[in-house]
């Protein structure tokens, strides 16, 4: 294969370093502040760039669903080297479940004319439902390999080391296909200054759910409703002491008290 076109699903999320909060009215995650590229997706973007590079041609396109026309996270991925993006931003999408999200993203893949490979993360860092990539594969009629921790393309087919509970499986798969990649699959590059400048003029098409012909969406399309939110009983913090060179004795004593030594 001389050309390789890859689409990467990227999520723009609230800064994970800031404490998360729920919207009081809807009980959904607050996503109204500044959003950034989910770290989990930086691996997929890097993987895509490397595969296109190895193939000797092609391009990396991004798709993202986010409120308020947010593109900050997309620009980060464009600065890494992706060529273009499609942003689905639509107030009607608020409250959408994972299945509706997958339908939207699958429709965006089709709007881009498909690709040889579609990449997602194993799960997002904010909602971590972890089903969207595999749902997209089913919607698009594609084979899929989830939890990919090593990926290469040889002779027009995918070779993947797929993480399992006990170790890993070697999996082969024809293209086109969809994979979800684990964190650590590759080392994401930092955008260069040149990349950041170039990203500003790369095309990002903004579309709505209606543009993609996906209905129903939002709360209407979700087969679920949030019925209650409570605070869990907090675990009480115990004794915290500064090490003075002798605190190991405290730990040994703690273990003795529990009769494990």
């Amino acid at each position: 294969m001389s050309l390789m076109n890859v689409i990467v699903c990227v999520k723009q999320i609230p800064d994970p370093a800031a404490p998360g909060a729920l919207d009081g009215a809807t009980n959904t995650l607050k996503r109204d502040g500044k959003l950034i590229l989910d770290d989990s997706d930086a691996y997929g973007v890097e993987m895509a760039l490397q595969l296109v590079d190895k193939a000797g041609g092609g391009e990396v396109a991004l798709i993202s669903m986010a409120p308020n026309g947010e593109t900050a996270g997309l620009r980060t991925a464009l600065a890494m080297g992706a060529a273009k993006g499609v942003l689905i931003s639509d107030p009607a999408l608020q409250g959408s479940d994972a299945l509706t999200t997958a339908k939207i993203l699958a429709a965006a893949v089709q709007r881009l004319g498909g690709a040889d490979l579609i990449i997602g993360a194993t799960e997002s860092s904010d909602g971590y439902t972890g089903t969207v990539p595999e749902q997209m594969a089913e919607l698009l009629g594609l084979p899929s390999v989830t939890f990919a921790k090593k990926v290469s393309v040889e002779g027009g087919a995918l070779k993947v080391d797929r993480q399992t509970e006990a170790g890993y499986d070697e999996v082969t798969c024809a293209l086109p296909a969809l994979i979800s990649v684990t964190a650590g699959v590759v080392e994401p590059r930092y955008p260069s200054f040149k990349g950041i400048m170039a990203a500003k003029s790369k095309p990002v098409e903004e579309v709505t759910a209606a543009d993609l012909n996906v209905t129903p969406v939002g709360w209407a399309g979700a087969g679920q409703k949030i019925s209650n939110v409570t605070q869990a009983e907090a675990r009480q913090a115990g004794e915290v002491i500064e090490d003075d060179g002798e605190t190991f004795g405290k730990i040994v004593g703690f273990l003795e008290n529990l009769k494990v030594i």
Partner: protein
């Protein structure tokens, strides 16, 4: 709606159903007297599945296919044949997630994942999900008609034998998967571990980025061995390649509830906390006194793991 027909995704390792499987069967039989386990393979585990509450087993020979697409397609054929479950329960793991994802599209039904409990109030089926590292519990109710698809975190329920008879096994063929079936497993690699299994150990000693470098993990392993426990790890050092994924404790790794959890050089990211907060006793050693891990620790030492761990190891060896 009443839950008259519940299906549970069963898995086996080394010929025996996994603990997550037995936990889900135990919960399922408390909700319905009609519980079907579906499993990859020939259904050789029917005796134990029946003992824990399954009244029927659907066995799907998947060959070298990945379970997600193969089992979901087989289940869809059963449902199309007129046997429609009200609820399908999955363990929150790789294969459970893949099957429920494929099935959710085939059935056009929502999925609810990362749950720790489920209840049927008579006018709605509600699952409970911890968010923000377990500080907040969200209850979500399925709307519309089933089948409802829900995945549960390991150790959400206690596994208890019901003393049931072996369940009757029905073989279900995988329909032609077309292009979606092209992913094939060509080799299986099992990473060797010694000592107790991480998610079953009475004591877990886990290391994180505070260890500074991969070679320092040897201290964690040595202490775990001395305590007859299992070594564990934060996602950060698994991602960094210091230890295999099978060591990972947290959201994307194992859920552990040991008698004692020792966190060495782990700051306590949300991702990690959800996997270990249920431990009976937590000891934390970390240089940063602001680290969130101290908020859940019964004993916290603000100090350098490179000093404290060798001292503990030496003290235990001297006994």
């Amino acid at each position: 709606m009443a839950l008259n027909n519940i299906w549970v995704f069963a898995q086996a390792a080394n010929g025996a159903p996994t603990s997550a499987t037995l936990e889900l069967l135990t919960k399922a039989r408390s909700l319905s007297s009609n519980v079907t386990a579906f499993i990859a393979g020939s259904g050789a585990e029917a005796a134990v599945l029946g003992e824990y509450g399954a009244t029927a087993v659907l066995a799907v020979e998947i060959g070298k296919s990945l379970p997600g697409v193969a089992i979901a397609s087989a289940l869809k054929s059963v449902i199309d044949g007129g046997n429609t479950p009200d609820l399908i329960m999955f363990p929150q793991n790789t294969e459970g997630r893949d099957i429920m994802s494929r099935l959710s599209v085939k059935l056009d039904k929502t999925v609810l994942t990362n749950n720790i409990d489920i209840a049927d109030s008579g006018d709605g089926v509600t699952v409970q999900t911890p968010i923000f590292g377990g500080n907040t519990l969200v209850s979500t109710t399925f709307t519309g008609a089933g089948p409802y698809l829900a995945a549960f975190r390991p150790k959400s329920f206690a596994a208890e034998s019901a003393g049931g008879a072996a369940a009757a096994v029905t073989a279900v063929a995988v329909p032609d998967l077309g292009a979606t079936g092209s992913a094939q497993v060509v080799a299986v690699h099992v990473e060797e571990t010694t000592g107790p299994k991480l998610d079953e150990a009475n004591i877990v000693v886990a290391g994180g980025r505070g260890l500074g470098e991969a070679s320092s993990y040897a201290m964690v392993e040595e202490l775990a061995t001395l305590l007859k426990g299992a070594p564990g790890a934060s996602r950060a050092i698994v991602d960094a390649g210091w230890v295999p994924y099978s060591y990972q404790v947290g959201q994307t790794g194992k859920v552990v509830k040991p008698t004692i959890y020792i966190a060495a050089g782990i700051s306590g990211a949300t991702q990690h906390m959800v996997g270990m907060k249920g431990s009976k006793n937590i000891i934390a050693i970390n240089k940063d006194k602001e680290a969130p891990i101290f908020g859940v620790a019964d004993l916290g030492i603000v100090g350098d793991v490179h000093k404290v761990l060798p001292q503990i190891i030496a003290a235990l060896k001297a006994r």
